[in-house]
Amino acid sequence: MQLSTRRRDRLIGLFVAGAVLLNPPVLDLFSGGWVFGIPSLYAYFFTVWALLIVGLALVLEGSRARPDDRDDGAP
């Protein structure tokens, strides 16, 4: 229960972070420049999106061992 509550709180934290960082007005701050030949708006959006997913994966998969789930892989 303790663990599950902590996970829930972390996921809500990720939600808030994603909602703030990936929406205007924060998003619009990155409009217009360039990063490694890619428009900064896109570079920023996809980077933060990817980090958000990494965060989700860490919270959802990391905090407990699930041996029964390990071999349940792709076809």
Binding site: R7, R8, L11, I12, L14, F15, G18, A19, L22, N23, P24, P25, L27, D28, S31, G32, F36, G37, I38, P39, L41, Y42, F45, F46, W49, A50, L52, I53, L56, A57, L60, E61, R66, D69, D72, G73, A74, P75
Partner: protein, 912 residues
């Protein structure tokens, strides 16, 4: 490109998909593993990316840049909350066997048939444009591959020559094969799920292939592509975002997509209904956003390349096909087409399955069941009827989609149509989320909210779309209904400057939320609503539905009812499984209690929906009327109840422990009581026997004064002997009661030598042994064995043991051994004989009063039965232990163990 080739490739591809689905449904090797995998589950969720993503997203990106992304940001953010929200939907749906979004809302708000039907109607109306969009996408894809560009006006060609028509026919057949081949109580379609997962892989591969080709085949990498785009000011605008109006549109789009991922019927189907294990969700919660990210990675590059390479005015929604075609890569275009076909086909099949389920379970079946003259409720087997209703519903839904596509969708981009559908289904979001987390959400509120939202949607989204295509007079869009300018559908109450979708979303949500919350706050909930509300809101803590519905039924009725909708075998198997789980034989049970009735209802709910199931079960159960007050009392204090329940459990555990202690004590008391009775009876008997003979012989002496002297002497001898026996008995009884009454501190203990005591006793008993012709041998060590004790008492113990041994040893060949041995901290006296011994079962009871070997009343070896009891108590007073075991040569061996003290160790005690 040859149309026949494209059509053939598409049919082969669809055939392959069906083969895979068939393989999985029929349990081919490894198929169970496949359909129970979290990866397949995640990929099936990607049915979200319909042809709208595939073609429409690129079209949108080529027109307004990053605006295509909120549609995927919304689901990502929604999935961040999925651990709380989606898991709860899953849990509730599984517990209540909910199989569609209409069922979910209907069940939450008091198993309401009307509400479920309303949701179904809205879902169908809302999804028709969306289905049309898929057909349009397929048909324009075919046109592009055949002619290089989509046809401008499909209405000019006959229906039978229209590619979209045939696409609709093929996909309908496909949907019927996948989604309504047989009835499952849980509505699992593993074949369909695996096929959808495969399609999701192809979608991703195809779009990525086109993207890689564009970036590295047509241009020198992504940087080059973007840089060339930047040189054109019209394209450079795609790289930026900003402005208050666009910000609001963006936020609205994100919220809309987040609501849609929960509310789209096909999403509910794959995410909730087809979910095999709850833990798969944990993985999907991050893997699905990853899929969305991957499939969107190349959308902008393809869009920019399209703008750069295609002439101005080319159809933006076809860029994914026209760019490879124009670049001379027709095979890539074909792969892209198959990717788009996958996107459309999976969406259509799952959506049609989900919608047909809703139409059948929440509109048609309830209506048919109420139509009494049809006699449906009496028909023995309804499974085929159910399947046909679903198939016809699929055909109907697809027909509507085709008609809409043919006559209405031409003027719209794919994305606009899709978003319109999103706004329609988003009307369910307040009722679902509110229903899951707010116990006060009432049926009246849900009906009001959904109706109000839907009405506003019709006015601000759907009717204008009809008007724009010419099906309705366009005047009301321009000037407002009745010429009232504040009623203009795209600028309601003068709200200008927003995208029509944002505008519609805002007003529908305002109306929906306002009515939902307002009416819920004002309206009173009925008993069943309260019950369902508590079940849903407290889904993680509480499953006590059976306690709320006090319904009973005749089990055969219930099974027959289930059999009519599931088929006899499935119904029997389900009830038998239920019985096994609870250790009851379902076949022998006649009376179905509340829990079993609930099980039957949920079983039916899986097939016909919660509302219909309730009506059906209602026909065979006796239900105790349930008052509002009662439900309030039962449920409004759920949390307090749970708290109290926990305390009660603790208390009851304590009580159980106390009870078992009491029971043990009681059993002991009963034994003691019986022993006391035995004791009184025995004492009575023991006292009476000598008294009777004394009295008898005395009377003879009195009444017959002329008895010969010898006889008189003999009688007097008996009287004296019996008197002595009586005296002995009374003395022993007194002794015993004195020992028992005195307790441990009876007399001062003094150091004494057990060896000496034993030797004295043996000496004093010689005569007795001689009389009984029993040999007594001593094994007493020469060194003294000191203990603290009362000499007289210990003598009594040893004498008693020796007397017993003499008594039980066979005269003539009896051998008794008295041994005293000293150990480090103990002194042991052992008396062994070669008599009959003491059976193992009696080794405890020989130490009780009047308990001699055998029956105390009939089998009299000559004692009074108090000797051992006295010994036991004396030894206990000395802190020692006495027990009996088998002697080496078959008789009894009594052992007395006393504490040993050092010689004369305690002069103080000795002085006393």
């Amino acid at each position: 490109m040859n149309t026949a080739l494209v059509v053939a490739a598409s049919l082969v591809y669809l055939g392959l998909l069906f083969a895979v689905a068939y393989f999985v449904e029929h349990g081919g090797r490894g198929s169970a593993r496949l359909s129970r995998s979290s990866i397949v589950y995640t990929l099936s969720l990607a049915v979200y990316c319909s042809s709208w993503t595939f073609a429409g997203g690129i079209g949108r990106a080529s027109q307004s840049g990053i605006d295509f992304l909120p549609t995927y940001l919304g689901p990502t953010l929604a999935f961040c909350l999925g651990f709380v929200l989606i898991r709860k939907v899953l849990r509730v749906s599984r517990a209540n066997r909910i199989t569609s979004i209409a069922d979910l809302i209907g069940a939450r708000f008091g198993k309401s048939t009307g509400l479920a039907a309303l949701v179904t109607v809205i879902a169908v109306v809302g999804m028709v444009p969306y289905l049309a969009l898929q057909l349009k996408s397929i048909s324009s894809g075919l046109d592009v591959l055949a002619a290089g560009a989509p046809l401008v006006d499909v209405t000019s060609i006959p229906v039978l020559a229209d590619g979209a028509f045939w696409a609709a026919v093929v996909l309908t057949v496909f949907a019927m094969l996948f989604g309504s081949r047989s009835l499952h109580p849980d509505e699992h379609h593993p074949g369909m799920v695996v096929a959808v997962a495969l399609e999701s892989i192809l979608k991703l591969v195809a779009l990525t292939a086109v993207g890689v080709f564009v970036c590295f085949g047509l241009f020198h990498g992504v940087g080059d592509l973007f840089a060339r785009g930047a040189a054109n000011p019209a394209i450079a605008g795609l790289y930026t975002h900003g402005g208050v109006g666009r910000g609001i549109d963006w936020l609205a789009m994100t919220a809309l997509a987040a609501a849609a991922i929960l509310c789209l019927p096909r999403q509910f189907q794959v995410m909730v209904v087809e979910n095999v294990e709850e833990r798969h969700l944990d993985r999907a919660l991050w893997l699905f956003p990853l899929y969305l990210l991957a499939i969107n990675l190349f959308v902008l590059p393809i869009a920019v390349a399209g703008r750069l390479t295609m002439p101005v005015g080319a159809d933006p929604d076809s860029l994914v096909l026209t760019v490879p075609l124009a670049a001379g890569a027709p095979w890539l275009a074909l792969i892209a087409f198959l990717g788009g076909l996958s996107a459309s086909a999976s969406m259509v099949v799952v959506e049609a399955t989900a919608l047909s389920l809703m139409v059948c379970n929440d509109v048609v079946m309830p209506a048919l069941l109420r139509w009494r003259s049809l006699g449906l409720a009496e028909r023995p087997d309804l499974t085929r009827l159910l399947l046909w209703i679903r198939r016809i519903a699929m055909i109907g839904v697809m027909a509507l989609g085709y008609l809409y596509m043919r006559w209405d969708s031409q003027r719209y981009a794919l994305v606009s149509i899709g978003l319109m559908s999103f706004v329609a289904v988003a009307q369910f979001a307040p009722a679902i989320v509110g229903g899951l987390f707010w116990r006060g959400a009432s049926k009246a509120g849900a009906v009001a909210g959904i109706s109000a939202g839907f009405a506003v949607w019709l006015y601000t989204e759907f009717l204008p779309s009809l008007a724009q295509s010419g099906s309705l007079p366009p005047a009301f869009v321009e000037h407002g209904l009745f010429g009232l300018s504040w009623l203009r559908p795209y600028a309601l109450f003068g709200l200008n400057g927003l995208d029509p979708v944002t505008h519609g979303f805002f007003w529908t949500m305002l109306a929906n939320l306002g009515a939902f919350i307002g009416v819920s706050l004002l309206a009173r909930q009925s008993a069943i609503e309260r019950a369902q509300a508590a079940l849903f809101v407290d889904a993680f803590r509480f499953d006590a539905a059976a306690q709320i519905w006090r319904r009973t039924a005749h089990l055969p009725d219930l099974v027959t009812l289930a059999a009519r909708f599931l088929g006899r075998e499935r119904a029997d198997a389900a009830f038998a499984a239920w019985g096994r789980e609870r250790g009851v034989d379902a076949a022998k049970t006649v009376h179905a209690d509340a829990e079993l009735v609930l099980f039957g209802e949920r079983l039916l709910a899986g097939v016909v929906g919660a509302a219909s199931a309730r009506v059906l079960v209602g026909s065979v159960v006796q239900e105790e009327p349930l008052g509002v007050d009662e439900v309030m009392r039962l449920l409004d204090e759920t949390s307090r109840l749970i708290q109290a329940n926990r305390q009660l459990e603790e208390k009851s555990r304590e009580l159980e422990a106390a009870t078992s202690n009491l029971q043990a004590a009681n059993a002991r008391l009963q034994v003691l009581d019986r022993l006391k009775d035995d004791f009184v009876a025995t004492v009575n008997h023991e006292l009476r026997t000598p008294l009777t003979s004394i009295r008898t012989f005395s009377e003879i002496l009195r009444n017959h004064p002329d008895l010969p002297l010898g006889e008189r002497q003999e009688f007097l001898r008996v009287v004296v002997a019996e008197s002595e026996r009586l005296t002995r008995l009374i003395n022993q009884l007194l002794d015993l009661s004195k020992i028992e009454a005195d307790g441990t501190a009876a007399r001062p203990l003094a150091p004494l030598d057990v060896a000496a005591v034993a030797a004295d006793c043996a000496a004093s008993m010689r005569q007795v042994f001689a009389t009984n012709r029993v040999a007594l041998s001593l094994a007493i060590g020469s060194e003294p064995a000191w203990t603290m004790g009362d000499r007289d008492r210990l003598v009594q113990v040893v004498v008693n043991l020796l007397a017993n041994a003499a008594k039980f040893s066979p005269p003539g060949e009896g051998r008794v051994t008295l041994a005293v041995s000293a150990e480090a901290d103990a002194v042991e006296i052992a008396v062994a004989d070669n008599g009959p011994g003491v059976p193992a079962a009696e080794r405890e009871i020989v130490f009780e009063r009047f308990r001699q070997g055998g029956d105390p009343l009939t089998d009299k070896p000559g004692g009074v039965g108090l000797g051992l009891a006295i010994c036991q108590r004396i030894v206990a007073q000395h802190g020692g232990r006495i027990w009996v075991e088998d002697a080496p040569d078959g008789g009894a061996l009594f052992r007395v163990r006393l504490l040993r003290t050092a010689a004369r160790a305690e002069p103080l005690a000795a002085a006393e």
